[in-house]
């Protein structure tokens, strides 16, 4: 069984994240946490509003210590790192990591610490290498590592870096990711845990 889906995206990510959410069948009930790089001054609400147009799930900007509830979509607020504790989120204003805050690596790494093999990590389009290390951590802990096919990505640097850092469970066109994680949720993979 899985506990949490974590998505990391940068350049071109808004569209890609929207596509993933839009493709998820209604009954899929895992919580989803998203670290999308954006300008520090950007209005927190805008990304939430835009993504909310793509899905019926509740989309929320994370507030400190917010509980993790099924079916909800949680967005890292601009200019904060998003961290996962068992059952809830935490925020920090620690230094940028690879020029990023929120850092995808921080989200993925702390999610792994909280939920071990129960994490599904997804790296989407982006023009930097953030998330590659975090995805490898997810994979090493027995979780699932998914990467958007670099060929179809708005920017391929981030998927390429993730592919170089770990053995992905699947490299998929963005339109196929929703269905793939739906499949995992219906029938949890047993093979992925063995690959270390």
């Amino acid at each position: 069984m899985y506990d949490l889906v974590c998505i990391g995206a940068s350049w071109g990510g808004l569209r890609a994240v929207g596509q993933v959410l839009a493709a998820l069948p209604e009954d899929f009930d895992l919580p989803i946490a998203i670290a999308q790089h954006r300008h520090p001054d950007s209005q927190a609400e805008i990304l939430v509003e835009l993504l909310q147009t793509k899905t019926n799930r509740p989309v929320l900007d994370v507030e400190d210590k917010m509980s993790i509830a099924p079916r909800h979509v949680y967005i890292a607020p601009p200019n904060y790192h998003l961290l996962v504790e068992p059952g809830s989120f935490a925020l920090s204003v620690d230094e940028h990591i690879q020029f990023a805050r929120p850092s995808i690596d921080v989200l993925f790494e702390t999610a792994t610490h909280a939920y071990g093999a129960g994490v599904i990590g997804i790296i989407l389009t982006g023009a930097n290498a953030d998330g590659a290390l975090g995805l490898a951590r997810i994979k090493n802990a027995g979780g699932v590592a998914l990467i958007q096919d670099p060929l179809g990505a708005a920017r391929r640097t981030m998927p390429d870096a993730a592919i170089a850092a770990t053995v992905a469970d699947a490299i998929l066109p963005v339109e196929a990711i929703g269905n793939f994680i739906y499949g995992l949720w219906v029938q949890p993979a047993t093979v992925t845990a063995e690959a270390r």
Partner: protein
Amino acid sequence: MSSSVGTSREPAGVSKHPPARDDLEDIELSLLLEGMFRQYGFDFREYAPASLRRRVWRRVFAEGLETISALQDKLLHDPACMERLLLDLSINVTAMFRDPGFYIAFREKVVPALRTYPFTRIWVAGCSTGEEVYSLAILLQEEQVYDRTRIYATDINESVLERARSGVFPLDKMREYTQNYIKAGGARAFSEYYLAKYDGAQFQRSLIENVVFAQHNLVSDRSFNEFNVIICRNVMIYFDRALQDRVHRLFFDSLVTFGVLGLGHKESIRFSPHETGYEELDASEKLYRKID
């Protein structure tokens, strides 16, 4: 590794996953925090674990060590190592006029109330290297209430207070700070407030004429005065829920009636024990007014 939301992934004993180091890491971390507290009196046991763990690991690597236990051994016998970890754990990264909207709301909704008092006390709790204190001082000067204000700026860490007192900030930040200042409704040229020197931007001493920098530990120390305003932004996000509740009590008890509490953008008094003791002054900028 911890239990998940009501599900157990596998029957006990047949896990195919590699043995998690995380359980051991949790033991090491809690022993480290216990040791720090008993030897040095610094109590980080109620800090939110995810970010604490990251900061501790950074210090482990910086000391050339490989485990949290090794760091424990070193710092118990070497106060200088404790000092370095304390810096890592207590520096909160901030910027002058971070979240410009907060300062606009402060000008519009808090300053008018301050004008009605002959004298006001403001507590900036967890001031770190002082960026917020100088920002606030600039705002109060421009609003011409600085002369009847005293700002108490406190932090757990004496060496960050030292830096705050010096009033020197990196020159390469001035562009960002200038933009923030303008967005925050600043009325003058930001460069009037500092002198560019070879080692940084030296801010005017007059800005801290009415500032008292003092060591104070939110975890263990009591209130030291009564305040009209308390600002504590992005400090409590590093605390766990129980500690947050205690600090909220400390703030509530330290505020005068109609005193104002200012929190970070993603913090809230919702679910705190004093939720009903405040009314919202500005919901999105997290300014609250104590009502009883």
